[in-house]
Amino acid sequence: MELQQSSLSSRNLLVPLGSVILALLVGAVFVLIAGENPITAYRVLFVESFGSVRSIATTLQRATPLIFTGLGVAFAFRCGLFNIGAEGQLYVGAIAAAIVGVSFGDLPRVIHLPMAVAAGMAAGGIWAAVPGILKAKLGVHEVINTIMMNFVAYYLTDFLVTGPFHGGRWAPETDRVFPTAALERIFLPTRLNSGIILAVVAIVVVYVILWKTKTGYEIRAVGFNPGAAEYGGISVARNMVLAMVISGAVASLAGVEQVLGVHGRFIQRFSPDLGFMGIAVALLGKNHPVGVFFAAVLFGALRTGGAAMDRLTDVPRELIVIIQAMIIMFVAADELIRRLFPKKRKG
């Protein structure tokens, strides 16, 4: 009943924690290759990501989009679907939010901001619906289709941002969104913005949908055993499409937050693999909304600390990309982890 577990007991934490430790050990080897002392490098990493209120704010800002993509991927996982297309979904979400954001300058904030956010979610939801429908109706594996949709999203947004919605500046980006559509900064001088509040709301909403509603029950039932769910009168096809739509809508908020809260505009290929990192966040967080939050904060801290480490030591910031990849691999290799960290017997 692994997929049904909703508690984060200590037994459940073994694999995530073990994975992080192992990944940091592999990272230490690369620190040595770069000619630096791992303890020095990791100290910088930690101090610069958690050492002051300001660095914590930066860490939270870096975690915000990962909460959205992590939640999105986790939601699909709960229905037994592997949404590897969060990257594409956040791009179409971002461009949709940007288009609404640079238009309708005369609208009041209470209408304009929700409209931009809703446009982004709708775009992401539709984007994810396509592989969802193809899976539900024709049985085509969603992994390949979500990958393909990522590339279609890259080129579509490339086209829009260099063509019809190219801003006044030379760079491939849109104009600035109107202030009425912006997610305001809440901790200057960092770029932490009210998107983090939206992220916390999303965590609660996803939790409630999954565990407190009939829809969530059905989605989890399909993820647990589609055959039994169908036999029990639950429509597998309908729930698969619905799960993909919600997954895509939530993941797309990462793009919305980047546009409305961080950059203030859509920039061509702005995402540093936020969608793919969402897979890591979901896996590390064991597909639980609360787990996703902590995993996203860890990854946000790595990115924040990694940038500082790049500046202050001889270790390139790409070390954290290596560490993140190792976390994904180890967390999925739970058999290996359980062998390396044998369980202590308790009464």
């Binding site: 592997f82 590897i84 193809l134 390949i144 289709n145 790409e318 290596i322 190792m326 691999m329 999925a332």
Partner: protein
């Protein structure tokens, strides 16, 4: 008038370019076929190519010989393939997760090493590359000579590879064993085929071939490595494999088609068709093929499922 239009888009120059664009896709898609025909999903082709591109450049840098560099790419791709095999076969890691981890790792690893070794960001120093050759007789044949008479040796290697993989898969006992492991591992096991060993060899081969595809970019087509220079070609190779229904000649046809789309996009842009839409073609065609609208593409039966010996 019409003829002029057609020859503007389809001519020897464009087709020769299409062949060049298709070459890395051919190598990687042949790799994909090996892995997936044995029952192991390989979305890590992109990372294996990127690693091959980097290591090909690195070994060439130290030896000054791009052919030795090519060996380095082959070997390093094979090592990454082995990581995927150990994860997927030995530890039963979800194959899509393992592939994703490999793709992310390769991006981090190559940029990290580039900066650590050369202290540069973006692109490596220039290295010697495998040079284009002229085929003695073929070169003088009209049209055909213009297309294939004057190409990089790796282009010819790719075309020969397709034939070799075809013969291996469909006309040798090892090929039959490999396919049976991908379709019915239990039945294969019953008749004495080592499922685990077969999958290990297939996935390592897969990585090695993808590594060669990456090296084509860094030490044959160009003569340097650049950050993320594979730019999604591993995924286009995956698409070519699927569009070609997991067969070598099918994948070759798809790779050539995608290479052609790549080669012709600039000319289409000139007549007002945005190149971004042309660039979407491989991905959309693959989705259409999977959905069964143009002859259904069906993957090997046991793909993605780890084998458990009883």
């Amino acid at each position: 008038m019409w003829w002029e239009y057609i020859t503007y888009f389809i001519n020897a120059t464009v087709l020769a370019a299409a062949l060049r664009m298709a070459t890395p896709l051919i190598f990687a898609s042949m790799g994909g076929i090996f892995s997936e025909r044995s029952g192991v999903i390989n979305i890590g082709l992109e990372g294996m190519m990127l690693t091959g591109a980097f290591m090909g450049m690195l070994v060439t840098f130290y030896t000054n010989n791009p052919w030795i560099g090519l060996m380095g790419a082959l070997l390093s791709g094979g090592i990454v393939g082995m990581v995927h095999a150990v994860a997927a076969v030995r530890y039963k890691v979800d194959q899509v997760v393992s592939g994703t981890a490999i793709n992310i790792f390769a991006v981090g690893f190559t940029v990290f090493m580039l900066r650590t070794i050369f202290d540069v960001a973006g692109t490596s120093p220039a290295v010697p590359r495998i040079r284009t050759v002229a085929l003695p007789i073929v070169r003088h044949i009209p049209v055909v000579g213009e297309i294939i008479g004057y190409q990089n040796p790796m282009v010819y290697m790719a075309l020969i590879l397709v034939v070799v993989v075809h013969i291996f898969l469909f006309h040798t006992v090892w090929g039959l064993r490999l396919r049976s492991v991908g379709e019915h591992p239990k039945a294969a096991d019953t008749v004495g085929i080592n499922v685990f060993l077969t999958r290990y060899v297939a996935v390592i081969t897969s990585g090695a071939l993808a590594g060669l595809g990456g090296a084509y970019l860094s030490i044959a087509h160009l003569s340097r490595f650049g950050d993320e220079m594979t730019a999604g070609r591993g995924f286009i190779a995956l698409a070519a494999m699927i569009f070609g229904k997991w067969t070598p000649f099918g994948a070759l046809g798809a790779a050539l088609l995608f290479g052609f789309a790549d080669a012709v996009q600039m000319r289409l842009q000139e007549v007002g068709i945005p190149r971004h839409f042309v660039q979407m073609i491989p991905y959309i065609l693959t989705m259409v093929a999977l959905a069964g609208f143009i002859g259904r593409a069906t993957p090997p039966k046991s793909i993605g499922k780890p084998y458990e010996k009883e």
